[in-house]
């Protein structure tokens, strides 16, 4: 009951006091709720807007922010975005060009024409000029693996020749990115290829060759177009005008050198084309010069060639024909004259494609609403397309950013590890202990009036005096001796010794009416029956209380759970959460915090009555 009585409440001073109370309570309430809301809000942000600390993240209502986030997901690094958009952005955090204007009917149809043609072009494009968009495809990939192996990990482990713990462990391979890339011809890559073949073209993006070329030149000339013009004897106004020609051309030495270096060293080999027949001899003599003896080469590559002249220029069609791919790389960069090389760029292929599809540049200008003078000037307007597609799928992307962090956490903790099952088993076992073993002992102490009751209680309680650290190391060694480390027993068994809980229960059992037991005895009920039929039902509140305490302790246990179960297979949710904290970005962590709070939230909601009503208080005897 309130200390201030009803009469006192009417006085002015007390009224002021009560207002002050409300204000301080409300201020406190804000400090309680605000961090909580912030946690929720941050859990749906990404790297770009993480540090804005808004209760309502800006991208939910500001499309420009959403667009930057979209570009970051789509292109990954700012460098790649610059290659496609032909820009010099420093990062995603600051503004990027974004036209807010609503696209009108006509403009939309022009862009749609572009997209339609690009999709058609994409469907004809060879595999090595397309990249998979990582968003969403990883999930599809795992689903695909699960399907083809019929959820049988053993079968897959056999195929892949290594033990696979879960399907979610498998990452897609890195493809086509580096100079000497070649397929590995393993079951893993075979499955990956099969998966890709089933994907529709929306999951792919076209590579850019000219973008890489322009950024490379920018790096080389330190972003100074004047220097390049001087070297090349040209007069470009920006780097973005420079096309990558298929073959080395022109008389300028600087330009020829740059082209040669870029093509020989920077570009993946599989984008180059040389005349195999006429250069075979050169390739063979290159290897002969390098190895001198064919046996030396055979030893290196575990092959059985008879002579250098029986070698062919490698290609990527089969495993055997690709063995000497690395040598081919050396051959191209060291031996082959630059004018024998042709680089197939995706931009030129695109121009070629348009040439075949439309009869002249006017038709194209009409279709796209552009004003090109020749085919060679055509550049795919990635920026416009991105803007259009973004506006079209705006809500989809909003949804994606809201759910993505959660998907990462669930994928990593619940699906990859055994965190869920470990935590459930651990918590259940601990709660069960608190509901059976401890009450049973307390019952024995309370009910039977043993002479030694207090001696036993003292025995149980005395070790409370010593800090856990004294016993921690020996307990650990003991667990090891019993071979219990990395088992559920290690988590549960030491908890059987629960002095204080038993003391609390005994005190409560003492207060139960004796008459009930006497009646039970008269009916001939066994002690165990009385324990289950009389004691437990009457002690619901205190049992719920101890069980809840046991659950919270087990669920939140971290250090101990990690020390006795160092094997990741045995980690509980909290240990995984901590492990994630060591690498995951803050926004993913926030999502993991929210997820970790859900079980406690559910338990507390369902036990609310018990927590708020059946509170156990010590009363002096």
């Amino acid at each position: 009951m309130p200390i201030i009585d009803r009469v006192g409440r009417k006085s002015k001073n007390v009224k002021v006091l009560i207002v002050v109370m409300y204000i301080s309570l409300s201020l406190g309430a804000v400090t309680m709720v605000y961090p909580f809301l912030l946690m929720l809000a941050s859990s749906i942000t990404s790297a770009i807007d993480m540090n804005e600390f808004r209760i309502i993240p800006r991208y939910l209502y500001d499309d420009e922010v959403l667009y930057r986030k979209y570009l970051q997901i789509r292109y990954g690094s700012i460098g790649t975005l610059n290659q496609y958009h032909r820009k010099d952005y420093m990062n995603f955090e600051e503004r990027v060009e974004y036209k807010k204007e609503v696209l009108t009917g006509e403009k939309i149809s022009l862009i749609k024409n572009w997209i339609e043609d690009i999709e058609e072009f994409k469907s004809q494009l060879p595999d090595n000029y397309k990249r998979i968009l990582p968003v969403k495809t990883t999930k599809l990939y795992h689903e695909f693996l699960k399907k083809i192996y019929n959820k049988d990990r053993k079968l897959m482990s056999k195929e892949y020749q290594e033990s696979i713990e879960t399907f979610y462990d498998i990452n897609p391979p890195l493809e086509y990115t580096h100079r000497l890339w070649k397929p590995a011809f393993t079951a893993y890559e075979r499955d990956w290829k099969k998966f890709k073949d089933n994907l529709s073209s929306e999951y792919f993006k076209i590579v850019t060759t000219e973008g890489i070329w322009q950024q490379w030149l920018k790096g080389k000339y330190e972003n100074d177009i004047g220097r390049l013009n001087k070297e090349w004897g040209a007069n470009y106004s920006t780097f973005f005008e420079i096309k990558l020609e298929e073959r080395m051309s022109g008389d300028n030495r600087g330009k020829r050198e740059d082209w040669t270096k870029f093509v020989k060293i920077r570009i993946p080999l599989h984008w180059l084309e040389i005349d195999r027949a006429s250069n075979k001899g050169l390739f063979c003599s290159y290897l002969e010069k390098k190895y001198k003896n064919i046996n030396k080469l055979n030893k290196t590559y575990q092959t059985t060639y008879e002579s250098f002249s029986s070698l062919n220029i490698p290609d990527l069609s089969t495993k055997d024909s690709s063995i000497l791919w690395r040598e081919y790389g050396g051959f191209v960069s060291d031996e082959l004259p630059a004018d024998a090389i042709r680089i197939i760029t995706v931009e030129n292929m695109h121009r070629e494609f348009l040439r075949g599809k439309y009869k002249d540049i006017e038709e194209i200008n009409n279709r796209y609403g552009t004003n090109y003078t020749k085919f060679d000037d055509i550049v795919i307007p990635y920026q416009k397309i991105d803007e259009y597609e973004f506006i079209r799928d705006k809500n989809k992307w909003k949804r994606y950013f809201i759910t993505n962090n959660y998907e990462v956490v669930i994928g990593y903790i619940l699906l990859k590890g055994r965190a869920g099952i470990n935590t459930i088993i651990y918590c259940l076992a601990v709660v069960l202990t608190a509901l059976t073993i401890h009450p049973l002992c307390a019952y024995a102490l309370s009910r039977f009036n043993l002479k030694s009751t207090y001696k036993i209680l003292l025995f149980l309680l005395a070790t409370m005096a010593f800090p856990a650290e004294v016993a921690m190391i020996p307990s650990f060694l003991l667990l090891k001796q019993f071979n219990l480390l990395n088992t559920y027993w290690a988590l549960v068994l030491p908890g059987f010794a629960g002095g204080f809980g038993i003391f609390l229960l005994k005190g409560f059992f003492d207060s139960l009416p004796r008459e009930l037991y006497e009646a039970g005895e008269i009916d001939g009920a066994s002690e165990l029956r009385m324990f289950f039929k009389i004691t437990l039902p009457l002690s619901k509140p205190i049992l719920a209380h101890t069980a809840l305490g046991a659950f919270t302790a087990a669920y939140g246990a971290f250090m101990y759970a990690l020390l006795v179960c160092q094997d990741p297979k045995m980690w509980t949710l909290m240990v995984w959460l901590y492990e994630m904290h060591t690498w995951a970005p803050a926004y993913v962590q926030m999502a993991s915090f929210v997820i970790a709070s859900i079980p406690t939230l559910i338990i507390f909601m369902s036990c609310q009555r018990i927590i708020m009503r059946g509170i156990i208080l010590p009363v002096e005897n």
């Binding site: 009951m1 290594e162 060293i265 575990q302 800090p467 650290e469 324990f531 492990e579």
Partner: protein, 810 residues
């Protein structure tokens, strides 16, 4: 030269032969001569890992397995990192758990401890197999003293570990784009301290959060700073003629290094009319800032692969020189040893085969080829590219990198990371001088260094003058003697006042014949009911206590051969200032926790009890944070405490126009900061208990008092308080014991720093046991902590003895 692809193909044959050998093995199961061998490595990469380093490691492993079909399985032994502690440091636990890898990765600074503890197996018998001169050719001359040390089994010199890969030396890494923006020539990195300062200043743009250089708070920072000491011409440690290692950095040369560090951190300078302070950033997450492109220069190892850099963006240079033209820098290399606790000779042999293979040319060749194939060939040590015939890649390597690689190793001032006895502590002890200089002005440099060196030598490197030791042992003996008398005296008192009354409360037993028979039966039932708890208590509470008591008097070693050392553990800790500091901190922590954490729920309950409306709403809101569990709260607040101006709490402060704080990094604030999250989460839950008790007070009591004209204070004093008394006492004692023993929160939030400001006893126990492998010492400390609390525990028992627990219904 062998390609990876071919290996993968031939691996198929390896598997087939494995399957066949397995079948044969099963057929011969009764006379099984072929035993399946499992080899545990620190890290086993999977095939589908995409980083080049993982791919290279995988390729090496596959080739190794191909050569050794007798190996059935390669397992990875995993660990977890604890804040401020590298995973490789938690060796003790994995050793004790039998989870340590068979092939152990060894840090230079840990080498002596590992050898002394018997973690490493002497390799002499295996080294005999190697062709003469092989090691001399392979090993960098600076490496010998680290791998060849005195140790078990006979205290003679043995080789305990061997290196792989290329030797590493610390160099300067810098961002060319930031250089250009600042108007610096990316091809001319700083060559002297003065230039380094000048460059750092030009690179700094504090409004954009951009700095010239970055240094981590704590041990990592000390590691970086040691290079300045080398450059100043001083050494960190030296071995005297008796072979004892001592810290020797307390000299005027190191003072110049410290002064230079202070200048980097604090000197005032102006740009565009604005005044700025400092040209470097001191943070707990330096790599995050570097990766965000906010840092101009950093130190990084040169020589190894795996450091994949964009040559257009990142420049590399040898370390600059100090005032005396000394280009001092750290030398390091990855070294591997065989786990000394392996019982099975076959496993040991296989572990050796792995080390030998990893060190050999074939492994290096595989690494090089994998890097070349993934297009990262230019990041491999140029020596390897030359050796294995990748001329074309060598041309792609920036010329400066090749030169640097040659130049960096030429320096006559290469210094291996300190590797003598207990040298893993050397960074730890140096954190203090660095924190002092960072946090305070007008520090007496020499004094700070002398103090650090003294601690390091005396307390950590285990060096005490013999006479002094004798004196201390005597004093300790007296102290222990007195304590024993005290404990016995207190014990008798306790026995009289608490235990005897408890025991006396035996129950009246009926003498009825029939009932006696029944009692006998009941006794058996009771025993069965109590059996699981009694046995568990004996095993999990009493036995560890007893064993712990023994350990406090031992120099305990997990690998066996623990010696009794009498009172030496106690001697060591009583003369260790860190112990006393931790003791003081524990007291501060306890007082703060109680004054904030104990009273907050009471005040909240009183407020909630008084307000006429809205109790339920407020109660629910205050309960909300308690719904998340422990570690979530800590990690959440750790995010909020981000000390950068972009951190949440700092953004909040700026909003109210207040100066930005360093939170957990500020020695004055750190302690409070570690306490607040717990209170935030616990105040709601705690108040519910008190609120229930307040509501339980019968209304009539207050009414009667009101009629008598009693004041509020009277009501609180004579009605409210007495009702809450038991709750308050048990709550207080519980909270006190809890606070005194608490370590978890601090470990996760600050790890004891800054400047030992949050270094509490329980944490010191944890560190000495699990990081510095001194179990005996740490158990001794745990006993002292326990005996300080025993009085409170007994008092608590005495109070709750008279208590009944009742469920409130309101």
């Amino acid at each position: 030269m062998t390609g990876v692809e071919n290996k993968k193909r031939r691996r198929g044959c390896g598997t087939a032969s494995k399957v066949i050998s397995l079948i044969i093995g099963m057929l011969l199961i009764y006379e099984s001569a072929v035993e399946a061998i499992t080899l545990r490595l620190g890290y086993v990469p999977k095939k589908h890992e995409t980083s080049t380093q993982a791919k290279a490691e995988r390729a090496i492993l596959e080739r190794f397995l191909e050569l050794h079909p007798e190996i059935e399985e390669v397992k990875s032994s995993t660990g977890i990192t604890i804040p401020g502690i590298a995973s490789s440091d938690i060796v003790m636990m994995s050793m004790a758990a039998g989870l340590a890898p068979d092939v152990m990765y060894v840090n230079f600074r840990k080498s002596s401890s590992f050898i002394e503890q018997g973690f490493l197996y002497p390799l002499d018998e295996y080294i005999k197999e190697l062709p003469p001169g092989y090691l001399e050719e392979k090993l960098h001359p600076k490496l010998w003293p680290i791998i060849k040390q005195k140790g078990p089994p006979d205290s003679n010199e043995h080789i305990y570990a061997l290196p792989y890969g290329a030797p590493l030396v610390l160099g300067l890494q810098y961002r060319k784009d930031l250089f250009k923006k600042a108007g610096l020539d990316p091809n001319k990195p700083p060559k002297t301290w003065d230039e380094f300062y000048e460059y750092a200043m030009r690179l700094t743009d504090q409004e954009k959060g951009q700095y010239g250089w970055v240094i981590e708070i704590g041990m990592e920072g000390a590691w970086l700073f040691f290079n300045f000491i080398y450059q100043s011409g001083s050494e960190i440690v030296e071995q005297d003629k008796d072979g004892i290692w001592r810290a020797v950095y307390n000299n005027e040369k190191t003072v110049t290094a410290l002064k230079f560090y202070e200048k980097l951190l604090k000197s005032k300078w102006t740009k565009d009319g604005k005044e700025y302070k400092g040209v470097i950033l001191r943070t707990d997450r330096p790599w995050r800032e570097w990766n965000r492109g906010k840092i101009g220069m950093t130190f990084s190892y040169i020589g190894g692969e795996g450091n994949v850099l964009d040559p257009d963006l990142i420049g590399v240079a040898p370390m600059f020189a100090g005032p005396y033209e000394i280009h001092g820098t750290e030398f390091n290399q990855t070294i591997l040893g065989i786990n000394g606790t392996i019982k099975d000779k076959i496993v040991r042999d296989v572990a050796w085969e792995y080390i030998k293979f990893r060190m050999g040319d074939e492994a290096n060749e595989i690494v090089t080829s994998v890097y070349v194939e993934t297009g990262e060939g230019k990041f491999v040590n140029p020596e390897f590219l030359k050796k294995f015939g990748y001329k074309e890649i060598l041309e792609d390597v920036p010329k400066e990198w090749i030169e640097i690689n040659e130049e960096a190793f030429k320096s006559e001032y290469l210094r291996p990371e300190p590797y003598g006895k207990n040298c893993d502590l050397i960074y730890y002890e140096f954190v203090e001088p660095m924190d002092m200089v960072s946090l305070y002005d007008n520090v007496h440099y020499r004094e700070v260094l002398d103090k650090a060196a003294k601690h390091t030598n005396e307390k950590l490197l285990g060096y005490i003058e013999p006479e002094e030791l004798k004196k201390r042992r005597t004093i300790m003996g007296v102290i222990v003697g007195l304590s024993i008398i005290g404990i016995i005296f207190a014990g008798i008192r306790t026995f009289k006042t608490v235990i005897i009354p408890m025991l006396k409360e035996s129950v009246k037993v009926s003498s009825d014949e029939r009932k006696i028979r029944k009692r006998k039966r009941l006794k058996i039932v009771a025993f069965f009911f109590m059996f699981p708890v009694l046995v568990s208590t004996l095993i999990w509470a009493y036995y560890p206590l007893a064993r712990g008591m023994l350990m406090a008097f031992q120099d305990y070693k997990v690998t066996g051969a623990s010696k009794f050392v009498g009172l030496d553990n106690f001697v060591m800790l009583f003369w260790n200032p860190v112990f006393w500091l931790a003791f003081k901190n524990t007291a501060i922590f306890t007082v703060l926790t109680l004054s904030l954490g104990f009273f907050a729920p009471i005040v909240l309950a009183l407020l909630l009890n008084e307000i006429p409306k809205g109790t339920l709403l407020y109660r629910t809101i205050y309960y909300l944070p308690g719904l998340t569990s422990g570690i979530v709260i800590l990690l959440l607040w750790k995010q909020f405490y981000d000390p950068s101006p972009a951190g949440f709490l700092n953004v909040l402060l700026k909003f109210f126009g207040l100066p930005v704080q360093k939170w957990l990094q500020d020695p004055k604030l750190a302690m409070v900061c570690t306490i607040i999250p717990g209170i935030w989460a616990g105040v709601g839950g705690g108040s519910i208990l008190y609120l229930a008790a307040l509501k339980n007070i019968p209304e009539e009591l207050y009414e009667a008092a009101s009629i008598d004209g009693a004041s509020y204070w009277y009501k609180i004093r004579y009605i409210t308080l007495p009702t809450l008394k038991i709750l308050l006492i048990t709550g207080f004692v519980g909270a006190f014991i809890g606070a005194f023993q608490s370590a978890g929160n601090i470990l996760l939030m600050t790890g004891g720093g800054p400047l030992h400001a949050t270094h509490v006893l329980a944490l010191e126990i944890f560190y000495s046991a699990f990081i510095y492998l001194r179990f005996g010492y740490s158990t001794a400390m745990a006993w002292i902590l326990g005996s300080m609390l025993i009085g409170f525990t007994i008092y608590n028992l005495k109070v709750i003895r008279n208590v009944r627990w009742a469920v409130t219904t309101k």
